[in-house]
Amino acid sequence: MKVRLIAILTAVISVMPLALADAGDLPALVQVGGVCGISAFDPTGLNFGIIAPGATSPEKSVAVTYTNDAEGAIMNIQGTEWTSEPNTMPVGQTTWRWDMLASFTGLTSTATDIELALETDGENIQPFQFKLSVPDGQPGGAYAQVITYTIDC
């Protein structure tokens, strides 16, 4: 039984590279005037866990995978206030930074621009760090927030 299992697994593992190779890129059919966009967040969401009033969360990181082969493309970031009906917490309690920011800055409900480098060799990964500070006296609850990354090109 064990031998049979090993044989089957070996067969599967040996055809796996073929299957994955088939899932690769297809050749270009037409080149258009550049594209920009986001293809992944890692992780796909943020979770600061449970934070007591007056405390600040540890840093959380999100890696944003983006494509930009269009001149002058801009990425920006904005957020909503934290809500846990009927309570709210200001959007700026979430702070963030990336390579070009020396210190953490408060998230805003209006867009903050992040200038992207022109990249013509495929996808790029940009890490962002986030922290959450809960004000003293903030009522307890399961709060939620939405952060939106926008790309313009």
Binding site: D25, L29, G33, V35, G37, L46, T148, T150
Partner: protein, 190 residues
């Protein structure tokens, strides 16, 4: 290797191969520029690309001075690996207020909502839109659009581009094979 290990392996493969592509939205660069006479209409094509391996749903909305003149679908489904051109129509009616001038600017946004959680991360594309109304002077506008000279290329729907086209079929086949082995083993144990 027992049954639960195999199930876990199959589930892990499914997660790894199917979920990373959920977030994946790109757009074709350039301003959507339309010249529309008073009492007339014009159109442009907004190119969106889903670079993942599953069909995604995107919500469209307009903002800025051009918003009230534009029509387009509120939502659109994007199959993987294909540029889909959304038809954007601008209509300038006979009663257009000429004091607004001959050039209107604004944006169209395409939003892909993220996974629900404590902090939901959304992806949004922003596309500059410019409507030129011939014969009228350009008035100062409260909405500014980025300096872009590249105009949106007009291509037929469904053209492939240089972006990778990810075919999920072989990976899904591989996962199904693993599951089949698991079932085969369970049967043989009895």
């Amino acid at each position: 290797m027992n049954r639960s290990t195999l199930s876990l392996l199959a589930f892990s493969m499914f997660m790894l191969t199917n979920f990373p592509g959920i977030f994946s939205l790109q757009q074709v660069a350039g301003t959507l520029a339309m010249t529309v006479p008073i009492g007339g209409s014009g159109s442009a094509k907004y190119g969106l690309l889903n670079d993942g391996n599953q069909t995604i749903k995107v919500a469209l909305r307009a903002d800025g001075d051009t918003a009230s003149y534009l029509s387009f679908p509120e939502t659109i489904e994007l199959p993987p690996g294909k540029i889909i051109y959304v038809e954007v129509t601008a209509i300038v009616t006979d009663d257009y207020d000429e004091s607004l001038g001959g050039e209107l600017a604004g944006y169209i946004y395409a939003l892909q909502e993220g996974k629900p959680g404590q902090v939901k991360l959304n992806i949004q594309m922003r596309k500059a839109v410019k409507i030129t109304i011939p014969g009228l002077p350009v008035a100062s506008s409260t909405t500014t659009t980025p300096e872009q000279t590249l105009e949106q290329p007009v291509l037929e729907t469904g053209y492939a581009v240089k972006a990778p086209i990810q075919n999920a079929l072989p990976i899904t086949f591989f996962v199904l094979m693993l599951i089949a082995i698991g079932i085969y083993m369970m049967k043989n144990r009895r």
